[in-house]
Each structure stands twice: as C-alpha cells, then as structure tokens.
Symmetry: C2
Subunit: 200 residues, 2 copies
DNA sequence: CTTTCATAAATGACTGTTCATTTATTAATA
DNA sequence: TATTAATAAATGAACAGTCATTTATGAAAG
C-alpha cells in the first residue's frame, strides 16, 4: 500500500545540499536553496528529514558511507601502493576543485565538530581515511617501496594531516593546482623513507 | 576636540568577538552576543564598525597585526631554531585550546577565504607565518641543526600544512593534547633532515 | 554649545517550521 | 474491470522567532 511515489530521491537531495554548501557555505545554506535546486519546496524537506539539522545529519551519514565504499576499491588499477596513496589524496578533494568550495566544505566539517551527532559521522570518515592510508603504507613496505622498519602508523597520521593542511594553504595563497601540491607535499614527506633513497 | 570618551576600547570589543567565535562559531556569532560581552548594545557596534562585516574585517586586521608582531619576537629566549619552530606551532594555536574552539576558529578562517577583503588579511597572516617558519629553518641549517642543502622552502610549506592539518586531526579524533601531537608530527617530518640522523 | 558616545525602541528582512489541502499511486471491493 | 478507500508526497500560505540595521533621544566631555 504505497502512496504517491517520490519525485526526487533522498540521495539527489543530499547531493544538492552538498552542492549548495560548496557554493555558499554551510552558514549560507538555506532549505529554500536546496529545495530550489531539486524542484521542491522548503516544507517538504522538513517533512522528509525531520528538520534542517536532520538533513545535515543525513548528508554526513551518506558522505561517510560513500567515503568508506570508495576507499575499498582504491587499490584497483593503481600501479603501486604509493601511487594509490596519491590518488587517495587527490580524490578525497574531489568536490573541492576551487578554493572557495574547499573553504566551504571545510567549514561544514568544522560545523560537524561542534555537533555530537555530526561529529560521529565525521569521525567515521576520518578513521576510514586513516585506515586506508595506513593499509597502503604497510603495503608499500611489504612490496619494498618503503624501507622496512618504517613507522607507518606515525607516517599515516602525518600524511592525513598533510592532506587537509595542504588544501588549506592552497586555499589561502591560491598558487598552482591542489593535486600537484598534494603530490609534492606527500612525496616530500615520504622521500626519506623510500628504498631508492638509500643509494644516496 | 574630543567629545564623550569611549567606555570600551576597540581592541576589547575585537577580543570579545574572537572569544564569542571560539565559543559559538562564526555562524552563531551575533552582535548581541558581542555587545553583551563588553556591556554595550548591538546598535553601538554597528555605529562604531559600520556593520557586522566591518567588525569582522577589523578583527581580521587586528589578528594579522598581532600575529606579525608575535613572530618578530619569537626567537628570543629559545635554545635553538628548531625549538623556536615548535614554539611557533604551539603558540599559533594559542586560542584553540579545545577541539571546539579550534573548529570554530578554523571555520572563521574558512569564512575569510570566501570574502575578498577578509581573505587579504588571512593571506597576510599566512605569509607572515610561512616567512617565520622559513627563517627558522634557514637558521637551523646555518647553525647545523639541519643538513646543509635541505630544501627549506619546500619544508616550510609542509610544516605549515602540517600545523593546520594536525589541528584538524586532533579536533576529529580528540586523542592526546594538541601541543604534543604537533611536536611529534613536526619532529617526525624534520627528523630525516637533522644532522644527528646522518649517523644512522 | 558643539561634538562624540551610547542607548532604547522600532523596522524590515530572512528563515525554519507548521498546517490544511491537493495530487498521484496502490490495494481492496463489488 | 470499474470504482472506491487508503496512503504517502508535495504544495502554498501563514507563523513565530531572530538578527542586523536605523532613527530619535539622552549623556558626558571640552
């Protein structure tokens, strides 16, 4: 006994919300803007997600799930663990192709940090990313790309910090492209621990 | 020709604004909250700073000037350039002693990035910090703490990214204290380039 | 008396939320 | 099969609250 079918799917609405956040930031986000984007009306969004905050929670949950799923199939088709690591870094910034969008999405993440329920999902994403980084570093050691004995756990934390931090410096000084700066920063960090570095 | 003297100084108001931002975030910032903090009334702030945005611009300007002045006298009393560098990292997070406050101040920085006028001051702060980091790294090379031939420019960029990024990871997983994690991350990054590392 | 600072009240715009109503679809009944 | 009931989705108008800003007025100094 189903009633009227939904005109637009939840995931479409959430994607629209993410798009709006990227454009006007989390503070400028309004139900009217999201509703406009998908051809609905503000009240409908409240009825479907309970409240504005409910929509944001749903968005955080979807993002977390998507990120986890993405990390699973990251190694496929990459020539080496370290190349896969660089790909992870770049693709984690997929939605942030301009300094403004990066800033707005980062601001959304900051908002997450002050709301217990949102923080939960942000933490899931964060730990999934660190797990993926650590796995790739361990694999790099196993395959001989990195020196045996490397403290991969400490390195993983630094790599993760470097990814977010490089995005921020890029958004500030706006020089070059983000992918190229990520590549430079990460390879610079890992260079002293690579095998070929031993020949120096 | 002075009329009635001001009850509270501009700098006091701006400090209060920074405090409010740290507590409720830039989105939750309201003129009423700031006015309350200093014992004034919202309208007064509008008259003195032109608008809410004017107050934020003034805050950004003051922060930039304070940061520049602070970097000047950073080397004094520090045993070594690298120790001074660690001090710089820790003190740049002075206002962000809790994960929430870090998140809120970072969100304010993100807001800066989308407003041309605010971005200008954020850029000044950013470049002043990078200049200070670079100077300390160069000094470390000159004094023999770091290997000669080290690419200090590239390293400075990484250090700066690492500072902000480590703050973010700390705000997310909330493990340990920020100073100790900053110290670990930065020394880890620099370790391969230190002199004593050559003995390996 | 003029100038500057501060106040208090009022305004106007914006926004999340609610509610009654309409629309579209499925299930049951004769 | 044709018709009716039940259900969920969506609408549009209205509500209530918040907040920055403006205006008119008073107070404190030179």
């Amino acid at each position: 006994m189903a009633g009227r079918p939904r005109g637009v799917d939840d995931s479409v609405i959430l994607r629209a919300a993410a798009e709006v956040i990227g454009r006007v930031g989390p503070a400028g986000l309004t139900l009217a803007a999201v509703a406009d984007e998908v051809g609905l009306v503000p009240g409908t969004l409240v009825q479907r997600f309970g409240s504005k905050r409910g929509l944001l929670v749903a968005l955080a949950r979807q993002s977390a799930h998507e990120a986890e799923a993405h990390h699973e199939r990251l190694r496929q088709g990459r020539p080496s663990p370290l190349e896969a690591l660089l790909a992870l870094a770049e693709e984690s910034m997929a939605l942030m192709d301009t300094p403004e969008r990066f800033a707005n999405h980062l601001a959304f993440l900051c908002m997450d940090l002050t709301d217990p329920q949102l923080h939960e999902y942000a933490l899931v994403m964060h730990e999934a990313q660190r797990g993926a980084i650590l796995a790739l570093l361990d694999e790099a050691v196993a395959e001989g790309e990195l020196r045996t004995g490397t403290d991969t756990a400490a390195l993983a934390e630094s790599v993760q910090a470097l990814i977010a931090g490089t995005g921020l410096t890029w958004a500030l000084d706006r020089q070059g492209t983000l992918p190229e700066r990520l590549r430079r920063a990460i390879t610079g960090l890992l260079a002293p621990h690579t095998r070929c570095e031993e020949k120096r």
